[in-house]
């Protein structure tokens, strides 16, 4: 590099530093944990970067507090996606990021939430067909992030990367994980190898498949884990690297699509099994008119006597029973005894995800063999 160019680059870096400092000031307390140092090259981002749409569905990552030691009781004001982009000028090194706010207005959330999910799913599908978009990042609260991501994984026909991200600490929290998670999510969405692998979840420098990721800890930053399965890849400091890809059906290869779903999904509820769990819990659900029940069984998917008897009564009314395992890991198997009892094995899905798959399956069929096939394939 010539002396002239080096000097010019220094001037540009200095200018970038000033810009970042100004931006950091302009968002006030936001992102106070991001050091005001510009990486070299920030002033002149490379040309021809991928276009990434940054969709906000809110979450802790958009939460703020006045005290940076407030890591649990945070809330308003909520950041807009524009605030994130302003606080992270480094995003310009890896992608052209366009913000889009798909949050529901405060206090006016859809009931059931799946109505909002369907709206988001339709939008994702639209962006999938939009030639000006190369990848999509969706922010989300972490508590049910895995459910929303799995729903999208099943009903959005898309090959482009769709990356769900959140944070465990609010944007203003000391040692907040949000900034790096968001930066890495954009990197993953901007990576060609992320396409065609289904909906992804990227936090804490890991990349998970929506189907297999679960929140495992209330507050730790390493909360998202694959219980039976591991990461698909990593967002390391040097590169985004994929090791494996999921083999279960998803996104472009799914038989479900948001455009052909009914206005609302069939009612399916979840029951937790425990010693002496009484059958009347199940009877009450049936009385309410549910179409399916997911029982999170003990051990390898066992039911209590009360549940077993109530399940038989439910089945005579056409209610489909799926059993998962409360053991957290492991498959509920397709055994002769279970077949005899007309119970659909929930594979290794957690009950909240088995519920979504059963809701979708019931939009197509009530045939138990067909629903079992669906649980084997998705």
């Amino acid at each position: 590099m010539s002396t002239d160019r080096r000097a010019a680059r220094r001037r540009l870096s200095a200018a970038a530093c000033a810009v970042i400092a100004a931006l950091s000031m302009s968002v006030g307390a936001f992102a106070q944990e991001i050091p005001r140092l510009a990486p070299p090259g920030l002033a002149a981002p490379p040309a021809g970067l991928p276009n990434v749409r940054l969709i906000s569905l809110g979450g802790t990552i958009s939460g703020t507090a006045t005290d940076r030691l407030n890591l649990t009781n945070y809330g308003a004001p909520r950041l807009s996606p524009e605030d994130w982009i302003a606080a992270l000028p480094e995003l310009a090194l890896v992608a052209n990021v366009t913000p889009e706010d798909l949050r529901e207005p405060e206090g006016k959330t859809s009931k059931p939430i799946s109505l909002h999910w369907m709206k988001v799913a339709r939008r994702l599908q639209e962006l999938g067909a939009d030639a000006s978009v190369d990848g999509i990042v969706v922010t989300h609260g972490t508590n049910v992030l895995a459910e929303t991501a799995y729903f999208m994984n099943l009903v959005v026909n898309i090959k482009k990367p769709v990356v769900f991200v959140g944070s465990q600490r609010p944007w203003t929290g000391i040692s907040g994980d949000g900034p790096l998670n968001l930066y890495n999510a954009v990197r993953v969405a901007a990576t060609k190898e992320s396409a065609g692998k289904g909906v992804l979840q990227a936090m804490n420098q890991n990349i998970h498949a929506a189907r297999d990721v679960t929140k495992t800890s209330a507050y730790r930053v390493e909360t998202f884990q694959g219980v039976d399965l591991g990461v698909l890849g990593v967002a390391d400091p040097d590169i985004v690297k994929f090791f494996t890809e999921p083999t279960r059906r998803h996104t472009f290869n799914s038989e479900f699509n948001v455009s052909s779903l009914p206005a609302s999904l069939p009612d399916v509820e979840v029951l937790y099994a425990y010693s002496d769990a009484p059958g009347y819990l199940l009877d009450a659900m049936v009385e309410r008119g549910v179409k399916g029940i997911v029982i999170d069984g003990t051990g390898a998917g066992a039911l209590t006597e009360g549940f077993t008897e109530a399940a038989k009564r439910a089945q005579t009314k056409g209610v489909v029973i799926v059993v998962t395992a409360r053991t957290f890991g492991g498959r509920v198997q397709d055994t002769p005894r279970r077949r005899e009892a007309n119970i659909v094995p929930g594979d290794n899905l957690p009950p909240e995800k088995a519920r979504l798959l059963l809701q979708l399956a019931l939009t197509k069929t009530t045939d138990l063999a067909e629903i079992t096939r669906i649980f084997n394939e998705y």
């Binding site: 039976d228 399965l229 591991g230 990593v234 040097d238 590169i239 994929f242 494996t244 999921p246 198997q333």
Partner: protein, 351 residues
């Protein structure tokens, strides 16, 4: 014990006759599985059934091993070849090359559905990764062992062996590279490592997890590996009968650089660092000056060694997430083709 041994001929006869009976009754003939035995705990006997360590009171023959699980005869016709009968720490280039060549040849037979290799567990991952890089076939190759000897109470060998055969027969196992099956779990040879000295759940891929499971109802897959392997590998050992010397140097505080100089003197063409050490710098420069290729791996057990900021030629060749013992296998094969650091880094990125 004696009673068991008397049963063997009966069980063997059953194993041999079962497919014939099926054939005679008009059912489809059973698929053929080629099985190679190398030794290890799965072929070890202890003096009594509570002997769960220090078992070296006898060896199990390949026929004995197979006759021990007559259920296999109901799902496959198994042809056994003995490669060796020793612990995995004594397995090396000779066995690796013999296995790679014979697996490639046998899997080319249209009537062979897949292959099983039985192996000691301590260094199982090294042999499995070597086969992942050198077997020219997309048919399933399953490496299996056991944590408890043949004679032990609650031994894991029989179910492991049965599940290995089931996996080798599974259509979904095709094209997924070499698989390692123990304890109901299917791992990729690329990612698996031994994680515990004695427990049956010893094999793990710490961050990446398994590819699937061998549950009672079916063999189930959730993942396919994305690294290059088997039929798609560029490494060809068909004409080789030895491999370059590559050794591992462990990094720790105040490590003596003498190990590096000594290994270079003994003929090492490549060295893998299981983490570096401040004291290694000059010795590594001396080694490089003699044409020895250095690859940086790590002793931590999880995570990638990221690319060097100055590149593989001016900086260092990095092993990514390959542990030192697997980085050694890959570097060995790389050195059969090239000494160019850029090329070797590409191989570490792709395999």
């Amino acid at each position: 014990m004696l009673q068991r041994l008397r049963l063997v001929p009966v069980l063997l006869a059953f194993t041999l006759l079962a497919p014939l009976a099926a054939f005679a009754s008009g059912a489809r003939p059973l698929p053929t599985i080629k099985m190679f035995t190398t030794g290890g705990t799965i072929q070890s006997k202890g003096a009594h059934r509570l002997k769960l360590s220090d078992y070296s009171d006898g060896r199990v023959t390949p026929d004995e091993l197979l006759a021990d699980v007559p259920e296999i005869g109901k799902i496959a016709k198994v042809e056994v070849v003995e490669i060796s009968n020793k612990g995995s720490g004594s397995v090396g280039a000779k066995e690796h090359l013999a296995l790679a060549k014979q697996l490639t040849a046998e899997l080319a037979r249209p009537d062979v559905a897949g292959a099983v290799v039985t192996h000691g567990t301590s260094a199982l991952e090294e042999t499995a990764f070597f086969l992942q890089l050198t077997v020219k076939s997309d048919k399933p190759v399953v490496v299996v062992g056991s944590m408890r000897p043949f004679t032990a109470i609650s031994r894991d060998g029989p179910l492991n062996l049965y599940n290995a055969v089931r996996t080798a027969l599974a259509p979904e196992a095709k094209g997924k590279g070499v698989l390692v099956v123990l304890n109901d779990t299917i791992h990729s040879a690329r990612f698996v490592t031994k994680n515990h000295t004695y427990h049956v759940e010893t094999f793990v891929a710490r961050e990446i997890g398994p590819l699937g499971y061998t549950d009672s109802d079916r063999v189930v897959f959730y993942r396919a590996p994305l690294t290059r392997h088997t039929a798609n590998s560029e490494f060809d050992v068909s004409k080789l009968d030895s491999l370059p010397q590559v050794d591992i140097v462990y990094g720790y505080q105040e490590a003596s650089p003498g190990s590096i100089d000594g290994l270079v003197k003994s003929g090492a063409q490549g060295l893998v660092l299981a983490s570096g050490a401040g004291t290694y710098r000059n010795a590594l420069e001396r080694a490089k000056a003699k044409g020895v290729v250095i690859v940086a791996s790590d002793r931590k057990g999880a995570g990638r060694v990221t690319h060097h900021k100055d590149g593989p030629d001016k900086g260092a060749i990095t092993a990514g997430d390959l542990n030192p013992q697997k980085a050694r296998i890959l570097l060995r094969l790389a050195l059969t083709k090239t000494h160019d650091p850029l090329e070797i880094q590409r191989m570490f990125d792709e395999y």
